[in-house]
C-alpha cells in the first residue's frame, strides 16, 4: 500500500510516532531476528489480536515492517535495509552524498597503485 503524506515532516512523524511506543519497539526487536506470524507476535503480550494488529498497522504505515499472506496466516518481516536507506535520505541529502563519497574513497584505496 502506498500512502501519500503532505510533507517530509509527516513521514518523519510516522516513523518516530511508530517508535515512540514500547510495545511496538519490542515487536520490532523480536521481529528483527526472524519472520513471524501475527499470532506469534501477539503471544507474549497481554493484548487482544486486534490491538496487536493495530500496532502492526502503525509499523507498516511507517514502512518499518512488511506483511504478506502465507495461506491463512499473515507473516511479518522487518524492513531494516529499506529503513536504513530511507534514514540516509531523511537524515540529510548532504549526508547521503558524504556516505557515497566515503565509499568512493574506500573503493579508490582498494585499487592497485
Amino acid at each position: 500500500m502506498v500512502k501519500r503524506y503532505s510533507s517530509l515532516d509527516s513521514e518523519l512523524d510516522l516513523i518516530f510516532g511508530a517508535l515512540s511506543d514500547s510495545t511496538r519497539r519490542d515487536i520490532l526487536k523480536r521481529n528483527a531476528k526472524k519472520e513471524m506470524s501475527v499470532t506469534d507476535i501477539a503471544k507474549p503480550y497481554d493484548l487482544s489480536l486486534p490491538a496487536v494488529s493495530k500496532h502492526l498497522k502503525v509499523l507498516e504505515n511507517a514502512k518499518l515492517i512488511q506483511k504478506h499472506r502465507d495461506g491463512k496466516m499473515y507473516l511479518v518481516t522487518l524492513s531494516p535495509n529499506a529503513l536504513m536507506e530511507a534514514s540516509d535520505y531523511l537524515r540529510s541529502y548532504e549526508a547521503l552524498w558524504n556516505d557515497r563519497l566515503d565509499r568512493l574513497e574506500q573503493y579508490l584505496h582498494s585499487l592497485p597503485q
Partner: protein
C-alpha cells in the same frame, strides 16, 4: 556553462567537495566505467546491478539495488547523462525509476523532487583529485523544493543521533 545557468534554480543547492588521494583518471573511471561504478555506488552491504550503461549525452545508466547480494530488488534508479567531458566534468540527472527507466518518485519520501541535476567536476592537484559536486532539483514544485532544502544539513543535527540509536537498537 554552469548548471545553475542552464537549469535555473534559485533555492539552496547542494555543494560538496572532497579531495581524493588518487589520480584524476582513476576517479573518472570510478564514475564512468560500469563495473567500477557498481562496486561503490550502493549503500554498504547492498548489491547494485547495472542493467544499462550508455555514457553519452542523453544516454542512460539504469540500475537496481538490493539490500544484499541475492536479495530482492529494493529499488530501481537511473542517471541520464547530459554532459560527458573526460576526465573533468560529468553532468547527470539522477532519479528513481521503474525497471524500464521511467521516472518515478522517491519510494520513502512522498514529497521529493523527481529529478535532481548534478554537476561533478574533477581537478587534479599534485597527483590528488579535487571533486566538486553541485546538485539541485529540476522541474520541481515549490513544495518539493522545500522538502529538498529541508533535507539538507539543517536536519542532520536533529536526527542523526536518533538514527544511530535506532541502528544500534535494530542490531541488538
Amino acid at each position: 556553462m554552469a548548471i545553475s545557468q542552464k537549469y535555473p534554480y534559485t533555492g539552496k543547492e547542494v555543494l560538496i567537495t572532497r579531495t581524493f588521494d588518487a589520480p584524476i583518471e582513476k576517479v573518472w573511471k570510478a564514475w564512468t566505467d560500469a563495473q567500477s561504478f557498481q562496486k561503490w555506488w550502493g549503500p554498504k552491504g547492498s548489491a547494485v546491478t547495472i542493467m544499462r550503461f550508455d555514457l553519452k549525452p542523453d544516454g542512460m545508466c539504469l540500475y537496481n539495488m538490493a539490500a544484499a547480494p541475492g536479495q530482492p530488488q529494493l529499488l530501481w534508479a537511473k542517471f541520464v547523462y547530459k554532459e560527458v567531458d573526460a576526465p573533468n566534468k560529468l553532468v547527470f540527472i539522477n532519479a528513481f525509476s521503474d525497471e524500464n527507466g521511467g521516472t518515478t518518485g522517491n519510494p520513502w519520501i512522498p514529497v521529493w523532487p523527481l529529478e535532481i541535476i548534478n554537476e561533478l567536476t574533477l581537478e587534479e592537484q599534485d597527483g590528488k583529485t579535487l571533486l566538486t559536486l553541485r546538485g539541485h532539483p529540476i522541474n520541481a514544485s515549490a513544495e518539493e523544493i522545500k522538502a529538498f532544502e529541508g533535507a539538507q544539513a539543517g536536519m542532520e543535527q536533529g536526527f542523526a543521533g536518533t538514527w544511530e540509536k535506532l541502528d544500534q537498537f535494530l542490531a541488538a
